[in-house]
Subunit: 211 residues, 2 copies
């Protein structure tokens, strides 16, 4: 139990390779060769290459969905909830970047029965964001003109897009990136009144308060 089991080694190796070459750019033979395993070892742990792909998807979406639900429960105002969700979302990149890349790039290749399960969770995640946005508008923290769907999908899009450019050893820490996102997003959503709220302004990059 001390040393890493084969299944984990396979997943890790596959992740690295999939991230770089894509699901179809990597053969099962290559995966097993690269992690010092065999065809038999692979198919002992996975029913098929598709199941491995599903597993990678599931680990990530389950994790991030839990984080969002926790954040939602932990905080009580729409602004705090949103910021916490975004922060948890961004921070996942630190651990799960390869997962997220595969998740965003290779989902089309999931077999129908797997795709269905993943999409259900993906949909749940979206609905949490929408819900928080609706609550924020309701509570007059967010501008009434904000279109919930577009704003929600924009947030999901801009964060997810990180998989195209985020480098763990880049000039900005993951916390700084999360803070920058929250600043941009809050400025686009908040009413002028809400921006002056002390509880809220701590999430903004500049606290100088414009008059």
């Amino acid at each position: 139990m001390v040393e890493k089991q084969l299944k984990d080694r396979i997943i890790e190796t596959a992740l690295t390779l999939f991230e770089k070459y894509g699901y179809h750019g990597v053969t099962v033979d290559r995966i097993v060769a690269e992690c010092g395993a065999s065809k038999g070892g692979f198919y002992h742990n996975f029913k098929s290459k598709d199941e491995l792909l599903y597993h990678i998807h599931d680990v990530f979406i389950t994790y991030v969905l839990n984080k969002a639900q926790e954040a939602y429960v932990k905080y009580k105002t729409p602004t705090k909830r949103l910021c916490a969700i975004i922060q948890s979302f961004v921070k996942v990149f630190h651990i799960y970047k390869p997962h997220i890349t595969v998740f965003n790039q290779e989902a089309a290749y999931l077999k129908p029965e797997y795709a269905e399960k993943i999409n259900a969770k993906r949909e749940q995640y979206k609905q949490i964001i929408f819900q928080v946005l609706r609550e924020g508008i309701e509570a007059k923290q967010f501008r009434t003109e904000v279109p919930v769907e577009i704003a929600g999908l924009s947030i999901i899009g801009m964060v997810n897009w990180m998989y195209k450019w985020y480098k763990p050893d880049g000039p900005m820490s993951i916390e700084q990136i999360a803070a920058a996102f929250n600043d941009l997003i809050l400025h686009s959503l908040l009413t002028e009144e809400a921006k002056r709220d002390e509880d809220v302004s701590s999430f903004l990059l500049s606290h100088v308060g414009d008059k």
Copy 2:
């Protein structure tokens, strides 16, 4: 010349299929069968399946890059330039959605020599956005705290992400979506002073001017 040439039919068919099943989910045989052509016809028009993929990438990125450059030249203030670029970007989805889907999903499978050319143009596009953002900050239209790279990549991300959800027959027109994006983006970037500027406020959804 009146009726559609084979090459165009192949591209069109391939696009529809790639969008739905992914590049590796579609065989050359399937493409030619679906558009009433033959293997010979395909390889007469394309050196390889890879070249077809490259062609699809190139058509889109060339088009959208031109649009951005035109918008940059046509307008003279950062805000107007940015809005025009975003609007042109969003509007491309109306015509090129399948191209964009393939562009965002299958780029990893481009052969190195093709990938290089595409990435050069992709990089150019990014730099135009960054440039406009820097100019906006310089001109005090955009907040000085805005991190150029993050903001630029966020914009690119949120718009590109449309390929995951945009339906041409959805409830909102492409113009409404573009306007919503511009509203969100400008609110996140503009200084309080700039928001009160008449030239600028026409890009915001609400003109009621908050005190």
